[in-house]
């Protein structure tokens, strides 16, 4: 039975003119809001938001005294607590012009947000609660992380689509050119990776190790023939034929032979001359703006259409220079979605700052870390419990010393991770949970733990009886003879004198 306590340190800072009249105490004061997220009978997650309410310092006031929210966010950044997992919320007056009309919450790139004061304390509290959940974790994200333990009926349909927490991931970019006679495609992947992918992977390096490679495949076709649509004079791939596209290609992708980490494939498909232009249709029949689709836990595919040459007698093959910016925008969005960082399910009055080339905002990284830490700890406890059950059941297994030391280390790391979570130190909690998972996996999957020693009782009898029964007969008879002789000897001295 596990009790997770997730503590989030939050600072709520009131700008002048925004303090609601009905505060329970005078500023500054502390408050703790606890919420219980039930997972199953034996596991529960309690979230503690440790809130510190205070008013702005002079520097913060100066920082807030700018024209737009973006500038305020940038100016406020050096003034706040930037440790992983913490949040700072600045409350501005309801009528403030920092936030555009119609938005009441602005979430910045880092770990802070601007909130309008609202009509009273209750409204403020509601907005704060929503905001805190968005920026750290929600009940459903925790349930998704603990999906092993939640009974199947309670999980939503998309609970298991995010990538599982792993120590590393391999990302492979592939260019598929089925028609090299018509298109000579060039993509500057190395430059694109260094410019656009590296920043986001550097930011995610806290979460896992990433390795990137790329390849070009020729004569690789999709498994599905697209339909020709006369109205738009283009070819269309309907949404229900998309699942069958991946498999024929996957056989040729060649996942890396050396690494055991999960592989994320991003494919760029340049359709043949005879099937251009090719668009992907969604369920309603409208062409998809990104012309791309992704498969959870696998990767994504984007279709890159090449315009027909202006002059019909242009010499083939056409030279194509892929616009890597457009491509990377889609691939990196897919990467975010694969990790579970979606921006679509937010209340309408929230405005999110785009993280730009960094790829993800600091608080999104925090969201990932919260989910992964909880998932790691749950995995460790399941693994160690099942290892213990295995050893109970089959007493013959010998535990080597290094396996034992891995188990002890896993337990110690998991305990320290739980403690750090309860204290609100997300960074150290995550590191501890990573160590715990590494140790426990090493212990559980140690090759020496194979139990080929199952001997059913009837087999034991079948082997030993034919061996020992014939041998035992003369022994038993001799024993009987000895006993008889001993008894006779005892009687004789009494008979004779």
């Amino acid at each position: 039975p596990a009790q997770f306590q997730l503590a989030v340190p939050v600072a709520v800072v009131f700008a002048p003119g925004s303090v609601p009249g009905d505060l329970p105490k005078a500023l500054p004061f502390r408050d703790v809001q606890e919420m219980e997220i039930p997972v199953n009978l034996r596991t529960s997650v309690t979230s503690r938001y440790e809130m510190v309410y205070r008013s702005t310092t002079a520097q913060e006031e100066a920082a807030l005294d700018v024209a737009t929210a973006q500038e305020a966010d940038a100016a406020l950044r050096p003034l706040q607590d930037t440790s992983l997992g913490s949040l700072t919320v600045y409350v501005v007056p309801e009528t403030s012009s920092l936030l555009p009309q119609g938005t009441s919450v602005y979430v910045g790139k880092h770990r802070s947000a601007l909130v309008r004061a609202g009509s009273g304390l209750a409204a403020l509290h509601t907005r704060l609660r929503q905001l805190m959940q968005v920026m750290s974790f929600t009940a459903s994200s925790i349930a998704a992380a603990l999906s092993d333990r939640v009974p199947n009926s309670q999980l939503g349909p998309d609970a298991r689509r995010h990538l599982k927490s792993s120590l590393g991931y391999e990302i492979t970019f592939s260019l598929l050119n089925p028609d090299p006679k018509s298109h000579a495609v060039d993509w500057d992947i190395e430059d694109a990776v260094n410019r656009y992918v590296r920043p986001i992977l550097d930011k995610l390096s806290l979460v896992a190790n990433f390795s990137v490679d790329s390849q070009i495949l020729y004569y690789a076709v999709l498994g599905v023939t697209p339909r020709f649509d006369k109205e738009s004079s283009s070819f269309l791939l309907s949404a229900h034929s998309l699942p069958h596209v991946i498999n024929p290609v996957e056989a040729r992708l060649g996942s890396s032979a050396a690494s055991l980490y999960p592989v994320l494939n991003f494919l760029l498909y340049v359709p043949e001359r005879s099937h251009s232009p090719l668009y992907i249709q969604d369920k309603d029949g409208a062409p998809v703006s990104t012309n791309a689709f992704h498969s959870p836990r696998w990767g994504g595919i984007m279709v890159y259409n090449v315009e027909a040459p202006a002059a019909p007698q242009a010499s083939l093959p056409l030279h194509v220079d892929v616009d890597m910016v457009r491509v990377m925008e889609v691939f990196l969005a897919q990467l975010r979605l694969l990790f579970g960082l979606s921006r679509e399910e937010l209340p309408p009055e929230f405005l999110l700052e785009s993280p730009g080339n960094e790829g993800l905002a600091d608080w999104e990284l925090d969201r990932l870390l919260w989910a992964h830490t909880v998932e790691n700890i749950a995995t460790v406890s399941t693994t160690l419990t099942s290892l213990a059950q295995l050893l109970d059941k089959i007493g013959n297994i010998v535990i080597k010393d290094d396996v034992a030391s891995e188990v002890y280390q896993a337990v110690a790391s998991a305990q320290s991770a739980m403690a750090e979570l309860a204290a609100g130190h997300l960074h150290s909690a995550f590191q501890a949970s990573k160590e715990a998972v590494t140790s426990s996996e090493r212990a559980f999957f140690d090759p020496s733990l194979l139990h080929l020693l199952y001997f059913p009782d009837d087999q034991k009898f079948a082997i030993y009886i034919p061996l020992f029964l014939p041998m035992a007969v003369p022994i038993l008879l001799s024993l009987a003879k000895i006993v008889r002789e001993a008894r006779q000897r005892k009687k004789e001295p009494t008979k004779m004198d």
Binding site: R195, H244, E329, S386, L450
Partner: protein
Amino acid sequence: VCTSRFWFNYRHVANTLSVYRSVKRLGIPDSHIVLMLADDMACNPRNPKPATVFSHKNMELNVYGDDVEVDYRSYEVTVENFLRVLTGRIPPSTPRSKRLLSDDRSNILIYMTGHGGNGFLKFQDSEEITNVELADAFEQMWQKRRYNELLFIIDTCQGASMYERFYSPNIMALASSQVGEDSLSHQPDLGIGVHLMDRYTFYVLEFLEEIHPASQTNMNDLFQVCPKSLCVSTPGHRTDLFQRDPQNVLITDFFGSVRKVEITTETISLDSDLAGFESKLPKDELAAEPLKYAEQLPVAQIIHQKPKQKDWHPPGGFILGLWALIIMVFFKTYGIKHMKHIF
């Protein structure tokens, strides 16, 4: 998995390769298939058509074509390797193609064929795997969530005994014959001289030939394959551990690969000309000493290992008592003073 070797077990290899072919046709790539065969058929000196394995009379279909990737062949097909693949307790040097890298959303299909008996399956004529071991292996897989749902098909004599002991959830099992019955082979080929396939697998394959990747056929149809009139043995199945109703389970859930797909509707915006962009290429590492050999060994494992026990143990317990008894009886019967005749 084909668990037998030698020429007269041609049909088991043909069985396995035919199932392998069907599964590949329905979309599962080689990277997701672990194929274990003794692989001594195609190049066997007794094969009148070398480099081929046929699954149908009159040599219609060569299932050992160009595209067969055998992961465990010949003497590597052992009970130990099989259990290692299932439970994941594999030495770290094993390549990716020999591992089962499944997670909690993978549906696994296990097909085994060979010679079996009541509660066991014979591996390569020298060892056996019992149904209890198999059930324990599946339980280990469940504990580590190495499968979402598992379909176990076995085509051997008395095959139903192999799935009697399963106790982990989400397992569905099919067998070609009940306990006490033998599975029979389908037809001999006079040109090759051995039986080419087993009946159950033959009819299953006929059934699978009609399935295409988008098919909606469900498991109940698979249960009806090969009735007693055609198969002589009674095929059995077990679905009590399975959570979904077999009516709702598509054949392609296990035999093919249909992925969930989502349309990408979000994009992020990237700034293409960054003013202060530095190329973060890794600097060449000069003067880094090459790792000494000792640093590359798994030192922790070596230090902590106790010296390996030789296989001979001094007799203890029962054996010791028995020998003591024998010696005591011997000397009691013959008397101590006769010992000088011995020494």
